[in-house]
Amino acid sequence: MRRVLQAVGVLVGVSILVFLLIHLVPGDPVRLALGTRFDQETYEALRQRAGLDQPLVVQYVDWIASAVQGDLGVSFRSGRTVTSMILERLPATLALAFGAIVVALVMALTLGTIAALKQGSKIDHVATAISQFGISIPDFWMGILLILLFSLQLNLLPPSGYVSPLANPWEFLQHLIMPAVTVGVVSGSILTRFVRSSVLEALGEDYTRTARSKGLKERTILVGHILRNALIPTITVTGLQLAYLLSGVVVVEVVFAWQGLGLLAYNAVLGRDYPVLQGAVLLFAAFFLLVNLVVDLLYSYVDPRIRY
């Protein structure tokens, strides 16, 4: 319960910062957003709609009260509600994040387990090197290299864009592969190290020795004893990785023109569309906090020694 309250407290802090975003911009945000398309009527309407003529505290209370009810204001650019714009983009980002996690887990579990089982061997060194490379590679560069190889040279995958899975599931998957791999490899690299050390630890445990002395098949020991025990902490770290993964999503969406929240936030920055930026940033941060909270609670559930 304390942990939940703490998360709510942090969320309030986050919302204040996000709210202040529009006020920290030097100059008049509405005037800046309208730019050359300025006309007095739209200007007044937008200002009033954004509540910018009210005292700061009143503005915040109004803003957060509407935000809680799902009203994040109106875009300075398109005139649509921010909520509808975000909802439209949310599935794409969730799909990308999910795809990336699948890539990361497959990579980490295979590489990490093999590396641990063959500790000190060439395979181990190669796996360690791959994970070191994966942590150091700029994701946007990797995205470009993948496009270069798989789209332009081999003509296997579409270079960019997003297709709704409802419209065409097959094309959706084709478009998803490269962005998901790009985002997933970075997280997968960090996870690989983690899986490797967890499996190494489990290998030295008594239950593994017992299983082995019982004459169980290596395969059974690996799946039933070692991986099962190594998996619990891995899931926790995966949860935490999900949050870092979101950071990668923003840039990779731009590289692949993936019509998600990251691209929306980026375009909002370029277009000085502050309400949209606020909405997207708030959602990302809230999601991060929620994932962290769930992971922490799960962890204390799995390991009763941890209490919040």
Binding site: L21, Q132, F133, I144, L148, L200, L246, V251, V255, F284
Partner: protein, 308 residues
Amino acid sequence: MATDTTAATTEAGAPPAVDPRSRWRQILDLLVSNRLALFAMVVLGLVLLAAVFGPWLAPFGVNEVIVQDRLQAPGLDHIFGTDELGRDVFSRVLLGARASLVVGVVAVGISLTAGTLLGLIAGFYGGKTDDFIMRGMDVLFAFPAILMAIAVLAILGPGLVNAMIAIGIVYTPIFARITRGSVLSVREEVYVRAARSLGARDARLIGLHILPNVAAPIIVQTTISLAFAILSEAALSFLGLGVQPPAASWGRMLAEGRGFIQQAWWMAVFPGLAIFVTVLSFNLIGDALRDVLDPRQRSAIESRGLAG
């Protein structure tokens, strides 16, 4: 700087009692004996050389346009080829090192100073001060790194200096957390209590007795943060929010190269390679330093060595 603080510690009679110079010498020896770290230091030496002496080393000017040579593939005249305006990619990669290093170093300098200071205060005074500072850090931590930097740049406007500030803010909480954690573990050590009973003032206690003894994890984090900061700078410049033309920057070159990927793969490949190699080097040194400086980690490696 680090050597100075350690020297000061020994004068003041606080542990460790080893001659500080030999301690740093020892660390250096260990680093040199690690082949990967040695390789990384050589690479970083070259990058530093390019950053400082780039204008004299580069065969062509950074914005020297040779129209008849535009989009030339790598060859004898232009070993990394030329871009769409006929500028030499190799020269631009050399000169791009400066922007990357300067932004990386200054940004980490900001996070290091602010984060360490906040962490020291939070850990040393505890109670309400601690709560206030660390909850604030939690709030900053809740934003995905790149998105936070983008939001800061949306307020400040794009540019080199603002990118440093943005990245500096993003990585402050990590330093605060690490410092605070270490301070908590040494705060009640005998030598701190002894110094306090001798009537040492808070500033003296923190600066002379606590800081030198929490330095190791901070140094490791600094190296790793340099890697992240350079990645972030590249990402921001890639998005057009960091270093502005006509200055050369790796991220910016990648963004430009992306548009010509079909005709000129070298425009995107070489700047990305430069980012990758630089970041990899910082990570390798960070790992090696952790092995040497962080005793817990070291024992983990030793025990692993014994197990294998």
